[in-house]
């Protein structure tokens, strides 16, 4: 146990700059979004934007799109903007593939030549993923809270605390899900680049699958395979409750990924 804590502290020290920078950037992004939303709000731009959207567009995009044309909607965009999601999934893939990197650099030889059970290496990575995910999302929420309290125009309708928490929770579970997949790949691979590329491409493919399936019916039949299908931020913005089913599916994939990692790593040659 002592060795595992040492290992976790070492990993946290190694990734601290990356995680701190990412947390800060995403937090600042939240503040910037609030500034933009405040600016539109002060110029009554949301009403004008709403009236500019033709009826056929409203029908095509659905009510959730219209929901975004508000101060509250713009503030929430930070939790499902493609750049944000891409960076967060990228971060979890980087964190999850650490064991492959340690094998590739032969640092793992030094670690495992000590009296340290192999499962602690995976437990370290799981703990690292959970801690870093929690930290980055707390930073985003802190950015949202700070921006709303100090920069939001008076009279603007804030997103509720529950909505922000639900978005952050759903996003966190999505990140952990990809972390589990990355860790499973890293437990088999000898090179971080291989594990990272495979999982990165898989993330891109499943993101596109989910995106395409929303407009193209034939893709709908296999869209359930995409983890992104289980993150429905627009539904949350429109006031729906976070579906427990989505969280269970994502958490289940993550748990399977972690389980496979323990299994593969305990049996592999280093």
């Amino acid at each position: 146990m002592n060795g595992a804590v040492t290992l976790l502290r070492h990993s946290l020290k190694r990734v601290r700059t990356l995680v701190l920078v990412m947390g800060t950037l995403l937090s600042v992004f939240q503040v910037v979004l609030i500034l933009v939303a405040g600016s539109i709000q002060r110029s009554s731009g949301f009403d004008q934007l709403g009236s500019l959207i033709p009826d056929f567009m409203r029908n095509l995009m659905g009510p959730s799109f219209i929901g975004l044309m508000s101060f509250s909607g713009i503030v929430c965009v930070g939790y499902f903007h493609i750049a944000v999601m891409g960076s967060l999934v990228g971060l979890t893939i980087a964190l999850g593939t650490e064991p492959a990197s340690e094998i590739e650099t032969q640092f793992m030889d030094l670690i495992l030549s000590r009296p340290l059970a192999r499962h602690w290496v995976i437990t370290r990575s799981v703990a690292l993923l959970l801690l870093c995910t929690a930290f980055v999302l707390l930073m985003m929420m802190l950015g949202t809270w700070t921006g709303l309290h100090f920069l939001a125009p008076s009279g603007a309708e804030w997103p509720t605390g529950e909505l922000i928490r639900s978005l952050a929770l759903n996003l966190a579970v999505l990140m952990v899900c990809w972390g589990g997949i990355a860790l499973a790949a890293a437990s088999r691979a000898r090179r971080r680049s291989v594990a990272g590329s495979v999982v990165g491409l898989l993330a891109l493919a499943t993101f596109l699958l989910d995106y395409v399936a929303r407009a193209w019916q034939p893709a709908e039949s296999i869209a359930w395979l995409s983890p992104f299908r289980y993150y429905a931020p627009l539904d949350l913005v429109m006031g729906k409750q976070i579906p427990a089913h989505n969280l269970w599916v994502l958490a289940g994939v993550a748990a399977c990924g972690f389980g496979i990692s323990y299994f593969l790593f305990s049996r592999r040659d280093i």
Partner: protein
């Protein structure tokens, strides 16, 4: 492909065992099996009566390991690496012993504060030796320990090794440097294409080696007609005979008694002469 085959080997407690072989012979594979980094497809390895796989934790708590290639994070300092690896072990690092190692391998406190990216190959090797020795473990497994060390540091390492042996520690080391093996090891095992082809004490191997002998004469002499079978002629000149002799010199001393001998030079039997023969057989 089979990396190591039919390897039966026992190392006695308190001895320095040299594990030899050409590149790819299976030395590092064997070491990695001992540390449970590789899982053998058949057979078992044990250290101090404990199975290296099923009781790996107990085994590794008694081992100090120096890998052939040190995988290091370049942004760590030397001190951070030693502290990190020290904390991963169950044997407490004796600070005074570690400082003694640092001093003897000539790594200064300032150098230990430097990032590993600034370390030379030799400095990394010294750091590797310190991390292996720092817990004063009962067994040291060293893969090519003097690779990259300068001659002075090699001397320091040999001293550390002999002190560890005097304390009853066991050393299992692979090496390519045959003179080093002859100097520090009690016994050797030689691997060829994954199979053990020689297992013997260093003294016994030396006894197999021919002695090099040169005889100078102060005037021209005729060479003897026939040398006995144990005499191998390297060079015969009117005033110099250069020979390799297996076994006692009896015949020669009798033969030389009537000749004008100016000087005789006899080299000690060299381990290399026997081992290189095995190596040559492998390369053929």
């Amino acid at each position: 492909m089979t990396a190591v085959k039919d390897l039966k080997l026992e190392v006695k407690q308190g001895e320095v065992f040299g594990f030899l072989g050409l590149n790819g012979a299976g030395k590092t594979t064997t070491i990695r099996i001992l540390l449970d980094l590789l899982r053998p497809s058949a057979g078992r390895a044990s250290i101090m009566g404990r199975d290296c796989q099923s009781q790996g934790l107990e085994v590794r708590s008694s081992v100090g390991y120096l890998p052939g290639e040190m995988g290091l994070y370049r942004d760590m300092t030397g001190r951070e690496l030693l502290d990190f690896l020290g904390r991963l072990g169950t044997r407490p690092v004796i600070e005074s012993y570690r400082e003694q190692l640092v001093k003897r391998l000539e790594l200064s406190a300032a150098e230990l504060k430097r990032k590993l990216r600034e370390y030379s190959t030799g400095m990394k090797r010294k750091l590797g030796l310190i991390q292996a020795f720092q817990g004063d473990p009962p067994l040291l497994i060293l893969d090519e320990p003097t690779e990259g060390l300068d001659p002075l540091m090699q001397e320091s390492f040999y001293e550390l090794l002999s002190e560890a042996k005097a304390r009853g520690r066991t050393v299992f080391m692979s090496s390519h440097v045959l003179s080093e093996v002859g100097r520090v090891c009690d016994r050797i095992g030689l691997l060829r294409k994954g199979e053990l082809v020689l297992l013997s004490s260093v003294e016994d191997v030396r006894a197999l080696a021919p002695r090099r002998l040169r005889v100078w004469f102060d005037r021209d002499v005729n060479g003897p007609g026939d040398f006995p079978a144990k005499y191998e002629i390297v060079e015969i000149q009117p005033r110099l005979w250069s020979l390799r002799v297996h076994g006692p010199l009896g015949w020669l001393t009798e033969h030389l008694s009537g000749l004008p001998v100016l000087d005789i030079e006899i080299d000690e039997p060299r381990l290399e002469d026997v081992l290189t023969r095995y190596y040559r057989e492998e390369s053929q």
